[in-house]
Symmetry: D2
Subunit: 395 residues, 4 copies
């Protein structure tokens, strides 16, 4: 390894160290795996973000004897982390600058390696396996995302003859990640990006599901005045009894100072809403897809777009008003100069769901049904107990 | 009517007036029913608490054209309210002083009246109908309680050839009543009965379901330090992320100053726990059944039992410690000199679920399946919208 | 003692028992006093409410060797408690039914007894002493109320040649009683009197001092939407940063559903406001004097006044609207069928301020200045430490 | 101006733009000043941080006609901002890399310019004026900090024959900045630096003054379990009634996971405490001076010190435990890769206190007394009203 490469590895290791030290659930799993070696002789093919947190996940699987063959997602791969993983003996494809074509080649390369287990993200590996007709060599796998789960239950339904455990279906994950970790990271990123005051400020949160209710809760906890927009009547009633003002976006558009979308649906803040917004209103999104704020329509309606700071753009309208758009309508908690994303402990929890589900695949795939399924109930409960112990919740 | 009877009616009407004025959902239903008359020609047989709040429910059904034949529950019938209902032309059996035998006769008398619709409470009417084999004359009915719903799905499963809508299955009711109204009434009754300070006080709440999580939330909101005991790991994890201390009753027994059971299960605070409690600990229950605190065991373990105030007993132990038992371990929010129970608005909501479910039975029973079933989704949503409007939730 | 009198004493003792058991600070003081006997040979002349809580205060002073000569306040004396106190050897004047004239005779009778120390309430005893010119025989005393303190610093300034410690000046009391105990008792009494739901309800709190900020805090904690009216700009700013909507009563009059005055000033809800109130608005007061809601003007503006329930009146206006007045505009937390008032622990704290201040008068009057003065700082701190220990605040 | 210089100015202007757009109070003052020109013909000598927020302050004074002569504080000067200010015609001394000696020369250069008004920070300018004996040419000035105020009332007492308004004495600033803005920025910086989860985590906050109570409040609001250490009994009692666990640092040392000092005093977390801390405990400070955590003692006790991430060091002890030190014990809310500091709105408020105080000096110095004094009450109230209006607090 030349000096430059060594330096890259060194930098990557440094960044992983703090994170690893705050993931006690994975640390315990690594210790267990070092003895039980559930993945001995097995190759896991993976498609996932390659950044410092996931590096700790990969280490853990490797400690269990797995041979790892991984590709990053398009555009999010961090090269210093890749350097570390390769230095540790894993086969990793992909670089930050990869084109889309190159990314597809990377996915193909993972499948070429003939993995026996899949760790999938968005259903790409599962779809590739089906397309190649190589299902019989696969024990099973996990799928991280809801959208991958939807794909498994939709276009791939009945075509995947091995178990795929959908991690995001876990109620544990909904509580620990969607409600609390996203809620916390949204208030963190709002403050970090804008440096604006929360106490006494008027926020409108669109959506009161797991994420939206968490965001509304934490904004109010920090002293914000929070109104909720929710189309489902029963959920809207829940928000009203939780003490929120609950109304339509049309009626709240002139009242709010900051709007945060968390519905999971497209077309929430649209051209019908723009004329109703007060001058200087701030628009942000924390839903997975960047379609809740109709940015193309916003751009079309603008007479000028001025970047003011990292992830802050001023959009001018012809009538003299302007609005502020954060992070181009993408997930605000991954934006700005130094994005942090969800808390380390919530990732530790989510990753333990991953590794124990993969262990179940490796050791007892025959106890599972074919196709998409939630995390086995006994694993959910085991992990809940471990998390309670790690938190020392009884103190 | 003699003077004494007139006075009784007068007193009853007075007590109903304030309550009626704070039940806008039923008021609107009465106005609708006066036009649509959904119950014209129908007799509704009822078994329910007869007190001022239910009187407004009965008025509303009568406004829809129903002929009402009702009996109170055993021991809770309020004679002045019965007098009002009779003066208004309803057939009402039962008095506060009735024996159990007499109560059974009252239930039988309701069935003797050959009702076409049932408003049941605990499954007594439905069981009577099955026993008598008179099912064919019944359009259907509603069942208020979860335990009645369990009975319909258990011993009566397959034997009730008409729809029975179980009101308590509604998520609307779980939110409005179980979480918020019970939570609010528990803190109200704790303060009203004991006059004790909440800020800084150490509470242990057993159970973190709809009721328990509401109780924990409101106690903490008032400044209490709250620990939660919950046997389900996933729910315990939810409590931990909500910021509560979460542990076993054994470990928290010496820490808590006040213990409130809300599990729905028997045998929570038992003889194993008594020796662990600190001197002066207060024991209370808000679950439906008086079995969560093992009062017989407590009585057996006591060297003396001293009533100190209404619904407050001091239980002395041989080792010199004592504990305080509220309301004999019965529902604390219905105890004390002037019990209030759940808020008027939450009852208004629950009763609208009743009357619109009964209207559905009366007008479209053929759209429903036989046996136990939840409130039709469209009614749940309609009522949620009406409640949001009545609250002016958007202001 | 005849049977009836014995029964009265018995009833009184019963009512005191629970209360005494929840006043650990006074219990410890009684134990200390039994040894140190600071009041041996001293007669304390007292003017105070005579009810179960104050009975525990009197017991404590008696345990310190004091000879007690007391009169109740006009109209609040509870005869069974008086019977207990007399049975315990204290000299007590006054009965519930006493006329104002008779009450003045009672006050005079206390002074006739030539007390060496005063426990005053509103300045009546101090004023009597000055009028009679018997100051030289008095060591000093305590004054419970702010209005009595104002009198000592106003019309009696320079005329009271002995120390008078004004209990209400203590920051400890402002925190423990004005903010937290009153805040808690206002939400308790609102729920107890009206049985109305708090979550999602719109409240307007007038005044954001110790009491008002406590009331606003606890209403919001229970899920209420709370707006604040406050004339002092700096305090209004504090409320705004605490996250409340802050506006004028005129602008909030049509928004609020419930209005609670806590300003200490007269003329807050006046005839200018009545026409702006929404139909069915509820008006209540928790300030000491019944002048914050202009009840005479309200009565004059009414076309009808209908009592609906204990402490609940409906006031009809000519334009068809009505409002609800609670407790005739008097302190709502002392109203209703079973008023509780401030929590036992907050009274325990306030009474310890009394007894230790009286002990200081008895044992070291020469360390104090003449006239009105706050509780000595060392006592404030000693009591804070005892309260922290009694609460086991570190657990 | 050469290309490089132009680029520097361009970059600085960009960074100021977003900040300026969120400071409406200064914007209004600029508009007023452009008409009233209170500083026409006056030179203001300034010592302050030179960064984007203060640039908006300087613009505002310049808009009022002031000639500005400024030096930055040692070590905090941002060169691009200096470039902007110079391009706008102000005389600015200092660069980021300046030595201490050079900094002293800069301060001297400001005084050499013979300013008629001072904007001081820590008392350096006032002390220089006294040392030079040039007091007669000075109308007066403002002092930003508490420590500068202490100096004016201490070593400089009686020696400054002109008014110096101490901005930090304002209750408005204590509420808006010390409690809320610092509280908010501490939770923001904790999340930003560590990426750790707050819900369910155990925090110990040392100090319950304006800053500490704000920090404790916001940590608890985000779901943390918070204990408070406070040596003043009355303040400790306040914390206890606010529902916090309140104890000694010794007793809480083993319980806490994260310790945040906010006392303003030196020597809070000392070598006596180190052995009591749990393995992995995190130590942080938000007080102004870096002396609350005894870092020299910590370094001396360490067997190794390992930087893990920006502002995160692991300190190893001989017994195998380690602790994490954030930001070397300096103000955590100014640390990390992208520190934000207090919210824009709280700075807008604080700067309006500055500019209106300076205007008062310029236009009515004769209405003020000599030496240190708080912001005139009428200005405090005026600014409170403007802030309430800018927040639209009544919506």
């Amino acid at each position: 390894m030349d000096d430059q490469a060594a330096e890259l590895v060194e930098r990557g290791r440094k960044r992983i160290e703090w994170i690893r030290s705050r993931m006690p659930l994975l640390a315990a799993a690594r210790a267990d795996f070092a003895v039980s070696r559930p993945f001995d002789g097995l190759r896991i093919g993976m498609s996932l973000h390659l950044e410092p947190k996931t590096a700790v996940l990969l280490e853990t699987l490797a400690a269990g004897g797995a041979e790892l063959v991984a590709t990053g997602n398009h555009g999010s791969t961090q090269d210093d982390i890749v350097a570390v993983l390769r230095a540790d003996g894993m086969t990793v494809f992909g670089r930050r600058q990869d084109s889309v074509e190159r990314h597809h080649e990377n996915v193909a390369a993972v499948l070429d390696a003939a993995p026996g287990i899949l760790l999938d993200n968005g259903g790409d590996l599962a779809a590739g396996v089906v397309a190649r007709g190589i299902e019989s060599s696969i024990l099973g796998g996990t799928e991280e995302t809801t959208s991958g789960g939807d794909r498994l239950r939709g276009e791939l339904a009945g075509r995947v003859p091995f178990p795929m455990i959908v991690i995001n279906d876990s109620r544990l994950k909904a509580i620990g990640e969607n409600r609390h970790a996203v809620g916390q990271s949204v208030v963190e990123s709002f403050m970090r990006i804008t440096n604006m005051m929360i106490p006494g400020r008027r926020f409108v949160v669109a959506g009161y599901g797991w994420c939206g209710s968490g965001v509304a809760h934490y904004l109010r906890a920090l002293g914000g005045k929070v109104a909720v927009v929710e189309v489902d009547e029963l959920t809207a009633f829940e928000a009203a009894l939780d003490g929120y003002r609950v109304g339509s976006l049309e009626n709240l558009a002139g009242w709010g100072e900051v709007f945060i979308t968390a519905t999971g649906q497209a077309g929430i803040i649209t051209e019908e809403i723009f004329p109703l917004l007060a001058d200087g209103a701030v628009l942000a999104n924390c839903g997975h897809f960047p379609w809740e704020i109709d940015v193309p329509a916003l751009t079309a309606a603008a007479t000028g777009i001025h970047p003011l700071d990292e992830a802050i753009d001023r959009i001018d309208f012809a009538d003299g008003r302007h609005v502020i758009l954060l992070a181009d309508g993408r997930m605000m908690n991954l934006a700005g100069r130094e994005p942090k994303g969800n808390s380390l402990e919530s990732m530790d929890l989510g990753f333990l769901l991953q590794v124990l589900s993969l262990e179940r695949i490796a050791t007892a795939a025959d106890t599972l049904v074919e196709g998409a399924q939630p995390v086995p109930d006994d694993l959910d409960r085991l992990i809940a107990r471990r998390m309670l112990a790690a938190m020392a919740a009884d103190r």
